[in-house]
């Protein structure tokens, strides 16, 4: 231990810069992994927590197909009562309009307040000091369709109060404006819910209504969303689930409430898996740095190790010393990384929640509390990986022979065979990567795809020494003549330190490769989406109830709104689109209906198969036929000509798959049927959005402005013109990938830190050499330039290697990982401009990274450095 303190800690403490950079690298890596983990947990946690608190004591729930449970069928379910308490539920989202420009999303639960009490715990408070609601308050809630109960948390936050039951003056605002679908109404706050039971859901953004009022407000007359059942004997859950399932009519199913959480989890799995995988890149780069630091430490101190060995220190101890160094650095990094990760998580949640909400219709909550499990994970991940990273250089240190002490100096003997081994390993990695890219997904996740990507990264890292050596030979001498004598000196000193540099270069190259790959993937994706949007969005106006309407939205367009739009003189045709979330082969998919005739007239779908897509679409009209999205086709192996069982209110029915079309709006998989077919199976349902076609010559902007002026006072609606919707689609697209870029930027920061660290080490080692240079007449400017050129060269080399590997990675991302995760065909596209910009930035960044070491080098006083000679 004393030896560790003297030999390692003293040095770690002395070289604050190098230590600091390494610790920062690990800290960032750990932080990013932790942040993404927390962000992912928040997306699911928010949903699961809301689900749990709202489900209350529900043991089982009866659900229908997409549209909930038809009341007529409900009437026949009285036998459910023999199992326990039964409570039909309306559940929906609304916007609380707090001021003209301030809204908050709230979850509205509509229950039969007469019968729901065994299932959920409520405690009501009415205003004016009465602790118990009076008969009047209760009857008002029961009878008046404009009654709501809000949580005391929400009331306090927004300065609202419950209406006094005795009709006296309220001590504050006792009304709440709620927008459901396109209709905004004023509700009377009849009572407050104490902070328990479902009131705790979603931070108090919870509104309770009577089922009759909720059904009317949400325009869901004639059906309920589900029926909650609390078993009288909870221990007979399995038996009850089976028995109830067997007795339910076709089209109705029984499930445990947690099932909905699991389905959302499944839905988000690919998205989150990819995010998590990316976060590990930053950690990987941090680990390269541990390797780098320990390796540098070993190389720089071969003679000291030799002395230790000569003094009789066993190899074991030497090994332990260097592993100890790695562990100490990693421990510091993890400690710093945990709080940093929590901080980053806030940013990550802000980034991901928009995506999750928009694309998956799940609700992200705030950042969950940092648990011991998270901390343990960070340490449990950081420490062992750091030890593995340090294992190779530490083993090498243990192999140093006592002779070194005698001979003195740093010799790089044995380098060539080692390099050859590395090269062989690199080639093997690349070969394995190619093989791995051919394998299919595992449980719907592109595990082998990521393995392939990781193998490319390792292959790249392993080939760096060989590449650097080759490059040094090729560029020797004249090629760098334009950089003058400093350039030649820089080249020479780098060539002499290839071994030490390899790791830094590899780390930077890996981060750059990831950046390039992701840039190419996103760029390709973006181009593909732009093309698809141009092909698909053909209507002049799009009407929805929210700015971003996700496909799961249950918010419907009211008849009055629809009529007002159809009545406009410039409107030529209106296509009503209805989307539902249904369970298909145990996964949640989107079932939509549109007017195929309109789609044909306007050519608004791009078909993947068959060759004559429009013909297939035309043939699908008037029979039980559907078109499916590409992602559904890939995920479930559904092909044109197949018959698949599509859930309908009357139970699953076979539908002919007429065509597969490209769709990038969701990776959940979409089934679309003609409106007439939909009506036949699902009955007349309010649309969730409208596509409006105008008479030729009409100006979409003018019509939009006119409709908004006419309808906005009475309805809550959003109308996009074709142009603004396209812009909106791309804006959502960019927002979705913002976090990806964020993660990559962090990885690059870590890598640039690594380059700085390496240069600092090199310079500290080269004090004597630099001193000599000064003595033979090099001025400070030349020294500085030389170091900066070295940094630039490292940047350039890493850049080139990163670019090559990045392109390989992008191919894996686009054709393997993306297809397996999301089922999207992406056309390969090089975002040349972006890549050039990124390269320039990295070159500048690495060159700047040389600035500090250069100043350090320039600060050496030649006499001090040489005097030891």
């Amino acid at each position: 231990m004393a030896l560790f303190g003297w030999f390692i800690l003293r040095r770690v403490a002395q070289e604050r810069m190098r230590t600091g950079l390494t610790v920062a690298g690990i800290a960032l890596g750990v932080a990013v992994v932790l942040a993404i983990r927390l962000a992912n947990a928040s997306a699911l946690g928010g949903f699961a927590a809301a689900l749990d608190t709202v489900a209350g004591k529900t043991s089982l729930e009866i659900i229908g197909t997409g549209l909930g449970v038809d009341e007529q069928r409900l009437a026949q379910l009285t036998w459910l009562r023999t199992w326990g308490d039964v409570s039909p539920v309306i559940e929906g989202d609304a916007l609380a309009v707090l001021s003209p420009n301030r809204t908050e999303a709230v979850r509205v639960l509509g229950v039969d307040i007469l019968r729901d009490q065994p299932i959920r715990e409520y405690r009501l408070d009415v205003g004016a000091g009465a602790r118990q609601p009076t008969a009047q308050a209760f009857l008002g809630l029961l009878l008046d369709p404009s009654s709501v109960v809000i949580t005391e948390v929400f009331a306090r936050r927004h300065g609202l109060v419950a209406e006094p039951a005795d009709g006296s003056e309220a001590g504050g605002r006792s009304t709440l404006q709620l927008a459901m679908g396109d209709v905004s109404r004023t509700f009377r706050i009849r009572a407050l819910l104490r902070n328990q039971g479902p009131a705790r859901a979603l931070d108090g953004n919870f509104v309770l209504m009577d089922i009759a009022a909720a059904q009317w407000a949400f325009d869901r007359l004639g059906r309920v969303d589900r029926v909650d059942v609390r078993l009288a004997e909870p221990s007979r859950l399995d038996e009850a689930e089976k028995a109830i399932g067997a007795r339910l009519p076709r089209g109705l199913n029984v499930q445990r409430p947690a099932r909905r959480g699991q389905q959302v989890e499944q839905m988000l799995a690919a998205f989150q898996f990819n995010l998590a995988a990316l976060s590990y890149v930053a950690l990987l780069v941090g680990l390269f740095q541990v390797y780098n630091t320990v390796a540098t430490s070993v190389i720089a101190r071969r003679d000291e190790i030799g002395v230790l060995r000569a003094l009789g220190t066993p190899r074991r101890t030497v090994l332990a010393l260097f592993l100890g160094e790695a562990a100490a650095l990693a421990a510091l990094g993890c400690l710093a990384g945990i709080p940093l990760g929590w901080g980053l998580a806030r940013g990550a949640v802000a980034f991901t929640s928009a995506t999750v909400t928009t694309l998956y219709a799940a609700h992200a909550a705030g950042v969950p509390a940092l648990t011991w499990i998270d901390a343990a994970l960070a340490v449990g991940l950081g420490l062992p990986l750091a030890l593995i990273a340090a294992a190779a250089p530490a083993l090498e240190a243990a192999r140093v022979s006592p002779l070194c002490a005698v001979r003195g100096g740093t010799d790089d003997t044995g380098e060539t065979p080692v390099r050859k081994r590395w090269t062989a390993a690199g080639v093997a990695c690349l070969a394995a990567s190619a093989a791995s890219a051919q394998a299919g997904p595992l449980h719907g996740l592109p595990v082998f795809g990521f393995l392939s990507a990781v193998l490319i990264v390792f292959g790249l890292a392993a080939l760096v020494p060989a590449a650097l050596t080759g490059l040094a030979r090729v560029t020797g001498g004249r090629a760098l003549g334009w950089l003058g004598i400093e350039g030649r000196l820089a080249h020479a000193s780098l060539t002499g330190a290839i071994r030490r540099l390899s790791v830094s270069v590899a780390a930077l190259a890996v981060s750059l490769a990831m950046l390039v790959a992701i840039a190419v993937m996103i760029g390709s994706f973006r181009e593909t989406v732009i093309y698809w949007v141009a092909q698909t969005l053909r209507a002049d106006l799009y009407v929805a109830t929210a700015r971003r309407s996700n496909l799961d939205a249950q918010a419907t367009i009211s008849p009055s709104l629809e009529q007002a739009i159809a009545a406009d003189a410039d409107v030529d045709g209106v296509d009503r689109f209805r989307a539902l979330s249904v369970t298909f082969r145990d996964r949640l998919i989107v079932l939509g209906s549109g007017d195929f005739r309109v789609l044909l007239d306007h050519g608004a779908l791009v078909f993947k198969a068959p060759a004559d897509g429009p013909g297939a679409l035309a043939s699908a009209i008037g029979r039980d036929a559907i078109v499916v999205s590409e992602s559904l086709s890939l995920r479930f192996g559904v092909r044109v000509g197949d018959h698949i069982e599509v859930p309908t209110p009357a139970g699953p029915r076979p539908f002919h798959v007429a065509a597969v079309y490209y769709d990038y709006s969701t990776d959940r998989g979409v089934v679309v049927m003609d409106r007439a077919t939909f009506l036949r199976h699902f009955g007349d349902q309010r649309p969730t959005s409208l596509s409006v076609y105008l008479r030729s010559g009409a100006d979409a902007e003018v019509v939009r402005a006119r409709l908004m002026a006419q309808l906005a006072p009475t309805h809550r609606l959003f109308i996009h013109t074709n142009t603004t919707l396209r812009a909106e689609v791309l804006r959502i697209f960019d927002a979705t990938f913002a976090i990806t870029y964020g993660l990559e930027a962090i990885a690059i920061v870590v890598a640039v830190l690594g380059v700085t660290g390496t240069l600092v080490t090199l310079i500290l080692e080269r004090r004597r050499e630099l001193g000599t240079l000064r003595l033979v007449g090099a001025d400070l400017g030349q020294i500085r330039r030389m170091i900066v050129i070295e940094a630039g060269m490292l940047g350039a080399v890493s850049q080139a290697l990163g670019m090559a590997a990045g392109l390989a990675l992008s191919v894996v991302l686009i054709y393997v990982i993306n297809v397996q995760s999301f089922g999207w065909t992406i056309q390969f596209h090089m975002p040349v401009g972006f890549l050039l910009q990124a390269m320039a930035v990295v070159l500048v960044a690495t060159t700047l990274a040389g600035a500090y070491p250069a100043r350090l080098a320039a600060g050496f006083r030649p006499a001090d450095e040489i005097s030891t000679e």
């Binding site: 118990q132 008969a135 009047q136 009709g167």
Partner: protein
């Protein structure tokens, strides 16, 4: 008269400003011009605001184990034409109470449901005698009344026959309840219905036989603002006579002059009793540990001109129903009757109901205070 039962609810509902506006106008008032006819009037009368079907009875196993039971369905009109087109809109509140008194076990079990009609999970038919609240129901089956209800702890499955002619109380079933015009109900009883079937207690099923008493009453308003509660008796005497009487207590402790009753004697016309014809004298007090109400559980009943002098005592003291959901508390229990008729010893059985000894607001429907959740069997 079973007016008693829903009175608590009616009092509360009538006090509500929400209903004050609705209370009188849209509902039909009980009227002398309406003659009750059976079996047609077994069905529901939704034009009136309040209606109930009330079955109580004393039963015994072969080996003499004694039970009392109660199964009651209330319909309380709330809003005859709700603005909201939803099926879940509350036109009526449908409440049901069931109870079993186990003399041997010295206990009284009860359960309550408060529902809306909704998609038909609870209701009262206008076509025939059929009232239900989920899987609790009463229906006319092959000319006999089938009563079925179950709770996790106990169940009732009985068949009661219409043995005697229905008794129309008051004038052709028009029963005045308050001094104002319209404060009345249409009211008839089936006073002695031979009953058999099963009572289940804690999973043990008992085959039982005995006599039931059925009341059906409907009307819209019949309360005076100063009426506090009532004491109601239904007695089946061993000599074949059946006796119904009630007294209305005012807030100031005095008795309302509208108190009345009916005496049914085999082979003789029914005798209508007015307030002066009988005396009900409270005796021993039992205090409910749940509601704190003090009920006189023993009574002396006398009808001087019939030579009747009876002592009433409860089979079990604790026969209070404290509705966890409705917040309604009242005492409704099986009784033993002993006494004299014109000097001859006489026994009988029956049911006694006492209300207005503790009032709890309907507002607690949703919100029983934690201290008053009588989950345990009394």
């Amino acid at each position: 008269m079973t007016m008693r039962r829903a009175l608590v609810l009616v009092l509360l509902l009538a006090a509500s400003p929400v209903l004050a506006a609705l209370a009188s106008d849209p509902w039909k008032q009980a009227s002398r011009d309406y003659a009750v006819r059976l079996p047609a009037d077994h069905v529901s009368h939704p034009a009136y605001r309040i209606e109930w079907w009330y079955y109580t009875g004393n039963l015994e196993t072969d080996r003499g184990r004694r039970f009392g039971y109660q199964i009651t369905f209330f319909r309380i009109g709330i809003d005859p034409s709700p603005a909201n087109p939803s099926k879940w809109s509350v036109r009526d509140l449908l409440m049901a109470h069931i109870a079993v008194t186990d003399a041997a076990g010295g206990r009284h079990l009860f359960a309550e449901r408060v529902s809306r009609a909704g998609v038909g999970w609870a209701g009262a038919s206008q076509r025939d005698l059929h009232v239900w609240n989920e899987d609790w129901e009463v229906r006319l089956e092959f000319g006999r009344h089938r009563l079925q209800a179950r709770d996790p702890r106990f169940a009732i499955d009985l068949v009661a026959s219409e043995d005697r002619r229905p008794v129309l109380h008051g004038q052709d079933g028009f029963s005045q309840k308050g001094s104002s015009v319209g404060n009345a109900t249409h009211y008839y009883s089936l006073t002695r219905m031979p009953t058999e079937g099963f009572v289940t207690l804690d999973g043990e099923r008992f085959a039982v036989k005995g006599d039931s008493w059925m009341d059906h009453e409907f009307g819209t308003s019949f309360l005076e603002s100063n009426q506090q509660g009532w004491d109601w008796f239904s007695i089946q005497l061993a000599d074949g006579a059946d006796l119904m009487m009630f007294q209305l207590r005012r807030a100031d402790g005095s008795l309302d002059p509208q108190s009345s009753g009916t005496l049914v004697r085999p082979g003789q016309p029914n005798r209508r009793l007015v307030a002066n014809d009988f005396a009900l004298t409270p005796g021993r007090i039992w205090t409910s540990p749940v509601s704190g109400a003090r009920y006189p559980v023993e009574w002396r009943v006398s009808v001087p001109d019939q030579g009747l002098d009876l002592r009433v005592r409860p089979v079990v003291d604790a026969q209070e129903l404290t509705g966890a959901r409705s917040g309604v508390s009242y005492w409704e229990g099986a009784i033993e009757v002993e006494g004299m008729r014109a000097g001859q010893p006489l026994t009988g059985r029956g049911y006694l109901e006492m209300t207005g000894y503790s009032g709890r607001a309907l507002g607690e429907l949703l919100n029983p205070p934690p201290s008053a959740t009588p989950r345990k069997a009394p």
